[in-house]
C-alpha cells in the first residue's frame, strides 16, 4: 500500500466505524428508527452533549481537564430558561460574563501553575450554587427562538444530524485547521517549545478556555431548546459524558492529541449506546450494569479495529 493514513485520519476511522456498527445494531433491533423522525429522536439529545464534548476537548487539548462541565452547562441552562427569555440583554451579558470567567480560569491556572482538576472541581460547586440560586426549583422556559432552532425540520436530514455535522465542521476548522487551533494543540504537545517560539502561553490558554466556555454555553442553550425548561441539576452527567466522548472519539488526556470530528462521533456513540440498551429490554436490576457493559463493548470494538488498523499499517 502506498497510501498512508495519517495519524489524524486513524484517530477518526476507529470511532466512525464503531458508530456505524452500533447504528446498524440499533436499526436491526428497531427498524422504525430508520426514518427522518426516528433518527431525530435517536440523536437530538446528542447535540448538546456534542457541544459539551467539544468544550471539554478544548480544555483537554491544553493538557487540562474540566470537572465543572456538567454544572456549568446546568447553570447556562438555568440562565437561558430565565434571563435570556425574560431579559435578553441581561441574559446575553451573563453568558458573556460566564465565557470571560472561563478565560480567566485559564489565566489563573496558568499563572499560578495550578492543577486544573482542582480549580474546576471548586468551580463546579460555584456553578452549581449559582444555578440553585437562580432556579431553586425547576422551571423557567426556553426562549422561543431557541425552541424553534432545536425543533426546526430541515429538508433531507433531521435537525440532529445537520447540527452534528455543522458542529463537527466548525470545530474542525477552528481546532484542526486554523493557526489558533495549531497553537492550542501545540501547547498540549510541547508547551516549552511553543513558549520558546515567542508565543504568549497565557493568552493562548485563556483563548482555549474562553472557546471552551463558548461551546459549553451553546450546549446549555441547545439543551434548554430541547427540554423547554431547566433545572439546577439538569446536566450534571455532562462532565463524565464529555470526557468519555473525547476519549471514545480518539482523543487523549495529555499531549494535545484531539479530534473534533471524533469527539462529535463519540458523543453520538454514547447517546446511541443508551438507546441500544433500552431496545434490548433488560431486567431493571441490570439496566444500569448494562450501560457499563455497552461502554466496555464499544471500547473493545475500538481496540479490535485499532489492532486491525495497526496490522494494516505494518504491511
Amino acid at each position: 500500500m502506498t497510501f498512508r493514513l495519517s495519524s489524524d485520519a486513524m484517530r477518526l476511522a476507529i470511532p466512525a466505524l464503531s458508530l456505524t456498527l452500533l447504528l446498524a445494531a440499533v436499526f436491526w433491533l428497531q427498524p422504525r428508527a430508520m426514518s427522518y423522525v426516528g433518527l431525530n429522536l435517536l440523536f437530538n439529545l446528542a447535540v448538546p452533549i456534542a457541544l459539551a464534548t467539544i468544550a471539554q476537548m478544548l480544555v483537554m487539548a491544553v493538557n487540562d481537564l474540566d470537572l465543572s462541565m456538567g454544572t456549568f452547562v446546568s447553570f447556562i441552562a438555568c440562565v437561558t430558561a430565565t434571563f435570556l427569555r425574560d431579559a435578553p440583554v441581561t441574559g446575553v451579558l451573563i453568558l458573556a460574563g460566564a465565557i470571560v470567567t472561563y478565560a480567566a480560569l485559564g489565566i489563573v491556572i496558568h499563572l499560578r501553575n495550578l492543577p486544573s482538576i482542582v480549580v474546576t472541581l471548586g468551580m463546579s460547586f460555584v456553578w452549581g450554587g449559582l444555578a440553585v440560586l437562580l432556579l431553586p426549583s425547576p422551571g423557567g422556559q426556553a426562549p422561543d427562538w431557541v425552541r424553534w432552532l432545536m425543533t426546526v425540520r430541515p429538508p433531507l436530514a433531521p435537525m440532529a444530524i445537520v447540527a452534528s455535522i455543522v458542529i463537527a465542521a466548525v470545530a474542525h476548522l477552528v481546532i484542526m485547521r486554523s493557526s489558533l487551533g495549531v497553537l492550542i494543540r501545540g501547547i498540549g504537545g510541547n508547551q516549552r517549545s511553543v513558549e520558546r517560539a515567542g508565543w504568549s502561553i497565557v493568552r493562548a490558554r485563556a483563548t482555549a478556555y474562553g472557546l471552551a466556555g463558548f461551546f459549553a454555553v451553546l450546549a446549555g442553550i441547545a439543551l434548554v431548546g430541547l427540554t423547554t425548561a431547566a433545572d439546577a441539576n439538569i446536566a450534571l452527567r455532562y462532565t463524565l459524558l464529555s470526557i468519555a466522548g473525547v476519549i471514545l472519539g480518539g482523543g487523549e488526556f495529555i499531549g494535545g492529541r484531539v479530534s473534533p470530528i471524533g469527539a462529535v462521533i463519540g458523543a453520538l456513540t454514547l447517546t446511541l449506546a443508551g438507546s441500544f440498551l433500552s431496545f434490548l429490554r433488560i431486567s431493571p436490576d441490570w439496566q444500569i450494569g448494562a450501560q457499563g457493559a455497552i461502554l466496555i463493548i464499544v471500547l473493545a470494538l475500538r481496540l479490535m479495529l485499532n489492532r486491525l488498523e495497526k496490522r494494516e499499517k505494518r504491511r
Binding site: 422504525r32 426549583s137 427540554t227 425548561a229 441539576n233 452527567r237 438507546s275
Partner: protein
Amino acid sequence: ETSAKKIALSNNYAGNSWRQAMLTSWGKVTGEAVKTGVVAAADAFTTAENQATEQAAQIQNMILQGYDAIVLNAASPTALNGAVKEACDAGITVVSFDGIVTEPCAWRIAVDFKEMGRSQVEYLSKKLPDGGNLLEIRGLAGVFVDDEISAGIHEGVKQFPQFKIVGSVHGDWAQDVAQKAVAGILPSLPDIVGVVTQGGDGYGAAQAIAATDRKMPIIVMGNREDELKWWKQQKDAKGYETMSVSIAPGVSTLAFWVAQQILDGKEVKKDLVVPFLRIDQDNLETNLANTQAGGVANVEYTQEDAVKVIESAK
C-alpha cells in the same frame, strides 16, 4: 379493552429503597395484569443516573418502540417537557406520578407535598403547644420535591409561630448523608424540640442525635422500616411519640391503572391527587408488621382503586 396495549414505566432513579419498593410493586401488579391479559406488556425502564437528559432520551426511545402509554416518574417537572410533548404528538398517553411533569398534555398523579410539610409542623404544635426550636432536614437542592416540602414546612412555621427553625441541612434523602449533616451542625445548635424531615432521613438524624448527650427531640419519620423499628423501640422503652409520613411507593401501580383506564377510553381529569401515607402512634405496630424488613411502608393499588380515584376527581 386494552389487551393489545403496551405500557412502559420510565423511572429516573433506582438508588434507594423507596424506588426499589416502587419497582417491586410495579413488577408484581403489572406482572399479574399482563398474565391475565389486561395489557400486552408493561416494561420498566430505569436510567443509570438521576438525570433529566438521560430520561428524556429514554422517553424518546419509548416513542420509537411504539408503546401506547408511558408511566413516568420524572427527574424534573419541566426538563422533560420537550420529550413528553413529542410523545403526546406521537399519540402516546403519558401519566406522571410522584415526580410529575408540567407539560399540559400529560396526566399528573400528584401528592400534595406542601401539605405533607405543613402537616408535620401542625402535628408538632399539638404535641408541643409551647413550641420551640426546630431542625429542618431537606432533600436534594434544586429538586422540585425538596422545594415543595420545605415551602410547606415554612408555611407551617408561619402558621404556628411558637416554632422557630434554627438550623437547616441538606440530607439528600439518604440516611448517611443526613446523619453526617446533622452531626456537623448539632454541636452549634441550641436545644431543639423537633426535627422536621422529608423522608429517608429520620433514622440518620436519630443516630446523629443519639451520639450526643442531647435529649431526643420529636423526629418526624418517613415510613422507612428502620425508622419505624427505631420508633417502636423508643416507644416501648420510654413512650416516645412521633408520626411518620411519606408517599407510598405503590403509587406507581395506581399510575399504571390510570394509564390503563385512559387507554380504555375513559374520561380522566388531567390532575389527580393521591393522599400521602401517614403512620401514627396507634397504627405503628400494624404498619410495621406489614412492612418488609429494610423496606418502606407501602400500599399497592388495584384497578378498582384507580376507578375510585378517577371518579372522585370528577
